[in-house]
Assembly symmetry: C2
Homo-oligomer: 339 residues x 2
């Protein structure tokens, strides 16, 4: 890959990103001061190398997945974000008034807004949280709300209707026992410990211990099941991209974007990498026709992920620099906050 060939591929990718139309040889002559025939010769080579493809025998060229791959790894230039993009994000951090977690959410909303892609904030997963406190508050003679709080500040609550045979005082007493015995237990082991350690204890002290036990068992299970914060912004923004001008494609993607669990599992960081990662097409494991760009963030001792889902033909440079900017800002805020 000599320099001209690199430049040619770069030009093809970037033109296609801008126009969404296959790129022909004539359009590139002027940029390279040569004839279309020369470009065609080079293109034929790029095609042999697998970096670009044709839709049909006489069409212009479109980057292939490995073309995009090569582009983001070797050709794309790092760039600071531009004026108007920066301005919008700056405002969020302007007077330090938002909690960091809120600032992140806001940033990703804006990124989705200005780019017409879908953005994701995968908040603090509670997987490695520990139980900090469980509170029971009486609402009425036969209703209580159980509130579970972990050491990282994840909170879930659940309302229970008590049968007549159960006394609220007994429920509260049980919560105190749990607080004494299980504080510091990893949250996903709590159910187990509840059964093994706590159940025998309350059996001796509480009349209808089975029912009371079930309340807390349910509350903790609900916690584990529900406590994941996924924010998906601009789910329909991505539909404005010209590749989705097709009913079947649209429905397919809409369905996938509805499945929060699927999105969560895909966007989740499974490795320890801290840089921005780009998953193109098949690599995304979400859908062969999208690219996912994501970055881990780290606040208040917990990991999270921010990510953008767009077409494979997405503006890689812009997204990368936007995510980098957000990350920088978070870092500088963390330092200000002392910690």
């Amino acid at each position: 890959m000599d320099e001209r060939r690199n430049n040619l591929l770069k030009e093809i990718v970037e033109t296609y990103i801008k126009t969404a139309k296959p790129v022909g040889s004539k359009a590139l002559c002027s940029k390279f001061n040569c004839s279309s025939a020369t470009i065609r010769n080079e293109m034929a080579i790029l095609e042999d190398l697998g970096y670009i493809e044709k839709n049909h025998i006489s069409s212009g060229r479109v980057p292939s997945e490995s073309g995009y791959r090569y582009y983001v790894q070797h050709l794309m230039e790092a760039e600071k974000i531009t004026g108007s993009d920066m301005l919008k994000l700056q405002q969020i951090f302007a007077n330090n008034e938002l909690e960091l977690s809120d600032a992140i959410t806001k940033c990703m909303e804006i990124i989705s807004d200005i780019t017409n892609y879908t953005s994701i904030v995968l908040g603090k997963s509670s997987a490695d949280n520990m139980l900090l406190q469980v509170n029971v508050i009486a609402l009425s003679s036969n209703q209580v709300v159980a509130i579970v709080c972990t050491d990282k500040g994840n909170v879930e609550n659940k309302v229970f209707t008590l049968p007549d045979t159960i006394n609220i005082a007994e429920v509260i007493k049980t919560s105190e026992i749990i607080n004494k015995m299980l504080v510091g237990t990893p949250i996903n082991e709590v159910s187990e410990r509840l059964e093994i350690d706590v159940k025998p204890v309350i059996k001796r002290q509480i009349r209808q211990y089975e029912t009371v036990y079930n309340i807390f068992y349910d509350a903790f299970n609900d916690f584990v099941a529900n406590n994941s914060s996924v924010h998906i912004n601009g789910r329909t923004k991505i539909f404005e991209q010209p590749e989705y001008n097709d009913v079947a494609e649209l429905k397919r993607l809409a369905n996938k974007l509805e499945d929060v669990n699927f999105i969560e599992s895909v966007a989740q960081n499974h490795d320890d990498e801290n840089e921005i990662k780009i998953y193109i097409g098949e690599e995304s494991e979400f859908d062969p026709n999208v690219t996912i760009i994501r970055k881990k963030y780290h606040i208040n001792g917990e990991d999270g992920t921010i990510a953008v889902i767009g077409p494979k033909r997405m503006d890689y440079q812009r997204i990368v620099s936007l995510l980098e900017y957000v990350d920088e800002k978070l870092d500088s805020r963390k330092e200000q906050n002392g910690k």
Copy 2:
């Protein structure tokens, strides 16, 4: 409207609901034992009355909005739900193990599933809730989580990072003051009372009272802003309806279905009616091409709404009977629970 004409309209509406294709005169001859010409004569009258319309001069007939209206008010027969639909819903109530609120959610998920419409559960709005308790739990030396709980069991929490100048003890003390002074205050008046009543008090007792005040002010504001439980099930189910075989239409609806606040405001019951209400097309105030059917429910002293969004050509009979069934089941469970 003599009987035959009524029956004809009923037949047209129901056929169109089933097939999604304009209904022609020939198709109806056999049902009415007469010639297509006779049907055409009657159809012309129904069209004059505004109950059916043609897409173009030589097309079959399609019910108009007032046709559907007339159908649901005068022609639709009340019907119990059928075997397989019933079976699926019955399982939810089978062994009384779910809290009522969870049972409702589950029911609406299933209804969306079996009907291919979108369903909504508008949970307990906290509008008329009163403050029951605010808890502050320390997470670390400079982080707390504030948990707000109302008398109806609505709970929200927010994590705050404290500046070095603030002592957690002061935050907790403030929460105690708030609990003493504001318990029983309607939740949307709490911010105001906090400013007028509480601020002067903590001003005397807390050093950096402004910052501490802001924490609680934010927490309560967040509560009012975030605390509404809207469950939307099968957002993309409705896309399977043949009316959405069109990119523009699909995008339009997808966008509307993303706007949770809009859906909430539309589905909300603004009147005291307790029966099932049907809003056809324009009446829905959501989108001219959908029908919304909704029913108020009432558990644990709070109102909620369940609703189904489908095309105007939706299976009115089936949805009405499904919602009625859910309502019945809820009623019978409430009785069992004593209250």
